[in-house]
Subunit: 268 residues, 2 copies
């Protein structure tokens, strides 16, 4: 397929991004990217380990997996590493009680967390919940805290849905950071700790794992910082200008997940 | 009144901020701050020149002045320096056709500007127009430009209305800057060019002018950068922590505009 596929050698596990790699998001739940469902089946049949490493925060993992299965993906809840459960661990460790500015469908992930008298704000991709009123409410809570604590589930700039590009949680994080003169703590990609959790669940050390994503900074840059190889697919939010990124250079570009899997399986 | 009022000497003109100095903004148009209307009358009776230097972008200057007069302020349209007219000059100079993400009531300020086939985005304090859909629309226009041009009418972090603090245009500017990897051009305070326009309209050189505002960075810092003296009032968005600001130190703090005018008139 491609010249120079040394990057595909000595692999035992794959971390896959969801939106833009498996499917394009959309109002109706999304559309699978051609060949991706078959690619997931081929990964599993090959004996390679597989874990989704997603910043998806518009649904609980259970609903997210239901959506994936409806699109034809053979994925279980245990194969999904997502920001909300990681945030819950962090909240419990530090005794934080969040005000949630998240998508309605994510709220059940926080069912066991005390949310009375909030002492931090947790920001996810709230989509339609990113209203002027909700943003002002989160802002006021933060600015009134002696030391504002803002936890952001990812810091993506934007993503692609079937009806066009949408601002992602990172843009709203920057708005609140600036207004409150505070730096958010990011849970999710590209945080190193998050990739390390995904690798632990994958059960493979970083040097034997490859991350496959459509986000040059969050997926590719983040994974490489953890010692993994990382591919950028030319699907989802990929833009040709990504190939001139001043700081991040993927180990390889592939047209889509199916092509990546072709090459990797040939090297096994 | 205060010890050490050297800062009040040799003054010929005053630049005043509007919201937080003359009045507190609110859904019903706002409430005058006690003593401010009388203070404006005393400034005018003294022979001092006066110009409002405001980042107000929720109304045309005509409607803004109507609101001020209804609250008892003796202010005319010619006495108001505001970002929208400055932005129109800039758009014309550079042949820019804006997509407007601004308050409905500001739109008439741009009536003579060609808005077809936009090649830039102008962002104001859009308030209720800061919807998820409108932000995504502005973002998409920018990200599809070869070289995105974002013009922001001010970069305030937040302001106080009668029902609480609200995110200001600067927060949304940061969101779009981050999502598009672009730096906005700010028209309005604290841009030097904007203060220079206000001084030209005041007809007084910077060393004989005092800016009076409630925003430590935008009002006080911006004016000082132009060679003016600047006072911070302890009304509006003032917070005690402003007095420990790492970079900006006002020439003096005053409890309110009325106190500032008392001191300045005593020194005439």
């Amino acid at each position: 397929a491609m010249a120079g596929c040394g990057w595909a050698r000595a692999v035992r596990g794959l971390l896959l991004d969801g939106s833009g790699v498996l499917y394009d998001s959309g109002a109706d739940g999304g559309v699978p990217i051609a060949g991706s469902a078959e690619a997931v089946r081929r990964i599993k049949a090959s004996g390679l380990k597989l874990q989704l490493c997603t910043n998806e925060t518009q649904a609980t993992r259970e609903n997210f997996v239901r959506k994936l299965r409806a699109m034809g993906f053979d994925i279980s809840v245990a194969e999904v590493t997502a920001p909300a459960p990681a945030a819950c661990r962090l909240l419990k460790e530090r005794g934080l009680r969040p005000h949630l500015l998240v998508h309605d469908d994510l709220v059940p992930e926080f069912s066991e967390i005390d949310k009375t008298n909030p002492n931090c704000v947790v920001l996810g991709d709230a989509a339609e919940n990113f209203t002027y009123a909700n943003l002002n409410e989160a802002f006021r809570l933060l600015i009134e805290m002696e030391k504002p604590v803002l936890i952001s589930l990812g810091k993506g700039r934007y993503y692609k849905e079937t009806d066009g590009l949408k601002l992602d949680v990172g843009a709203y994080m920057k708005a609140l950071e600036y207004a409150c003169d505070v730096q958010a703590e990011v849970v999710g990609k590209p945080a190193k700790r998050f990739f390390e959790s995904a690798l632990a669940e994958l059960g493979v050390p970083p040097e034997q794992a490859i991350m496959i994503g459509d986000d040059i900074v969050s997926d590719v840059g983040g994974a490489q910082q953890c010692g993994m190889r990382a591919l950028q697919v030319r699907t989802g939010k990929y833009r040709p200008s990504d190939e001139n990124h001043p700081e991040v250079k993927p180990d390889a570009y592939v047209n889509n997940l199916a092509e990546a899997v072709d090459i990797i399986l040939q090297q096994l």
